[in-house]
């Protein structure tokens, strides 16, 4: 399973479960739509840290890294590359 698929699976199961959606588009705006909000981001950060072995710093919690699935994948891969 790719990084994108793992994140999408998590979001669909844990965050977007009430939204009556089959999938998330890679460039779908997750912030503006409210799919990721201030409460769900806590769980998302824990998921990213545990699944990909990265540290999500507070200063990284900005739209560039969390706007959509593509930006999250880029963030994870960049972070893994820096380890």
């Amino acid at each position: 399973m790719t990084v994108l698929e793992k994140i999408e699976k998590f979001l669909m199961a844990e965050v977007a479960v009430d939204l009556d959606k089959e999938s998330l588009q890679p460039d779908e705006d997750l912030l503006g739509s409210g799919i990721i909000d201030s409460m769900t981001v806590i769980k998302l950060v824990l998921f990213l840290e545990e699944t990909f072995g990265i540290e999500v710093k507070d200063e990284d919690l900005v739209p560039e890294n969390f706007q959509n699935l593509n930006s999250m994948v880029e963030y994870v891969e960049r972070n893994q590359g820096n380890r």
Binding site: L31, I36, S38, T40, I42, K43, E59, V62, P63, E64
Partner: protein, 381 residues
């Protein structure tokens, strides 16, 4: 797991108790009645090292570890009857100073922290708005970048210290379409064009901690006064509030210990039907429950302090601590009044003030309902 405090940590608490008992309790009934903030006491606290305790020496701080800071605040809570003053101090330390330390540039740290640690300046926090409380990130205050300045527009409410503050940690959205990740933090000085402090807000308790609205009308904030990146405000706010949740409660713990000792002493001395009231099971049980709550609260609080020292984060445990200590504090205050009977209800006995002050504790830094929401989310619910 080591439950023993070091000699130095015990000394910190003792020293804080002595300082508070000797220096911070004058004219308490009158100051509460008048809702009077005391800058004199604020400066005494700064001289003692309260505001700077947990901050590096290069910014005028004391470089204390987190548990020592918690013990300092616990000692103040035990010795100081002025819960409003302690609330105001905590508000500045954790929601103004700490975000600057953790997210600020070198210029921001050197520019603001020494003044705040020394008591020269007072800091206030501006997040809550008339229409956004628990749903904090739905705020309406906007920030628009124009050249070298952000232009802020909006109104903040329930800003502790605002009437006397020199610097304000203000949150505004730079892009509403980015949801909570549009929220951005700004350091606003009192003299910035377009900034003003609105009317004082009267309240049930914590009356010596002044509170007011903040009004931002085309307020010009230099770009260098943005704290962190654009959109990083929610993370900055959450980090600050977690610090506040972890540490503001220490003063409540000290207050619980003070009340418990007072209730034991009263229950031994006060006689009804020929016996000390403490010999009646209904009173003794109440005091036992106060003791159990205090000891369990202490364990929860110290655990959070140790976790934050080791890992920096303690989201679940900080929420548990906030929920448990605030609700325990209110119950302790109610029990203290009940044990003292009619005397407990009088101003002179100074227990009714603790009760009035305590009610805010399940509201500020996130209500009990929000703490339960956080815990539920982290349990996967």
């Amino acid at each position: 797991m080591d439950f023993e405090l070091t000699e130095e940590q015990v000394a910190v608490k003792k020293s804080a108790v002595r300082f508070a008992q000797n220096e911070l309790n004058d004219e308490m009934i009158e100051r509460d009645r008048d809702g009077a903030f005391s800058r004199k006491l604020w400066l005494k606290c700064a001289d003692f090292g309260v505001q700077g305790a947990a901050f590096p020496r290069e910014y005028g701080g004391g470089d204390a570890d987190i548990l020592s800071t918690v013990l300092l605040m616990e000692g103040l809570g035990y010795g100081c009857k002025d819960s409003g003053l302690l609330f105001a101090l905590n508000g500045q330390m954790w929601t103004v100073q700490m975000p600057i330390l953790r997210f600020g540039s070198d210029g921001q740290k050197h520019g603001y922290l020494p003044k705040l640690c020394s008591g020269e300046w007072i800091g206030a926090h501006g997040m809550t708005e008339p229409n956004s409380g628990s749903d904090a990130f739905s705020l309406s205050t906007t920030a628009k970048l124009e050249g070298d300045y952000y232009i802020l527009n909006g109104t903040k409410t329930f800003s502790t210290n605002a009437p006397v503050a020199d610097v304000f940690m203000v949150f505004a959205t730079v892009d509403k379409s980015k949801g909570f990740m549009g929220v951005t933090a700004f350091i606003v000085e009192r003299g910035f064009p377009g900034f003003s402090v609105g009317k004082d807000i009267g309240k049930m308790g914590l009356r010596t901690a002044p509170m007011a609205e903040l009004v931002l009308e085309d307020c010009r904030v230099p770009v260098e006064n943005r704290l962190g990146k654009e959109g990083n405000g929610a993370a900055i706010f959450e980090d600050a509030i977690e610090w506040e949740r972890s540490c503001i409660l220490a003063s409540l713990l000290g207050g619980m210990e003070r009340q418990l000792e007072r209730c034991i002493e009263y229950a031994k001395r006060r006689k009804q039907f020929g016996r000390p009231i403490g010999k009646y099971q209904s009173i003794a049980n109440k005091i036992v429950d106060m003791q159990v709550r205090m000891e369990t609260a202490r364990l929860v609080l110290y655990k959070v302090a140790c976790m934050k020292q080791a890992h920096g984060k303690a989201t679940m445990d900080a929420a548990i601590a906030k929920l448990y200590l605030s609700e325990s504090w209110i119950q302790s205050c109610l029990d203290a009044v009940q044990i003292h009977g009619g005397y407990g209800y009088t101003t002179e006995f100074e227990l009714e003030r603790d009760l009035r002050d305590s009610v805010a504790s399940t509201l500020y830094s996130g209500t009990s309902e929000i703490q339960r929401n956080i815990i539920a989310r982290l349990l996967g619910l």
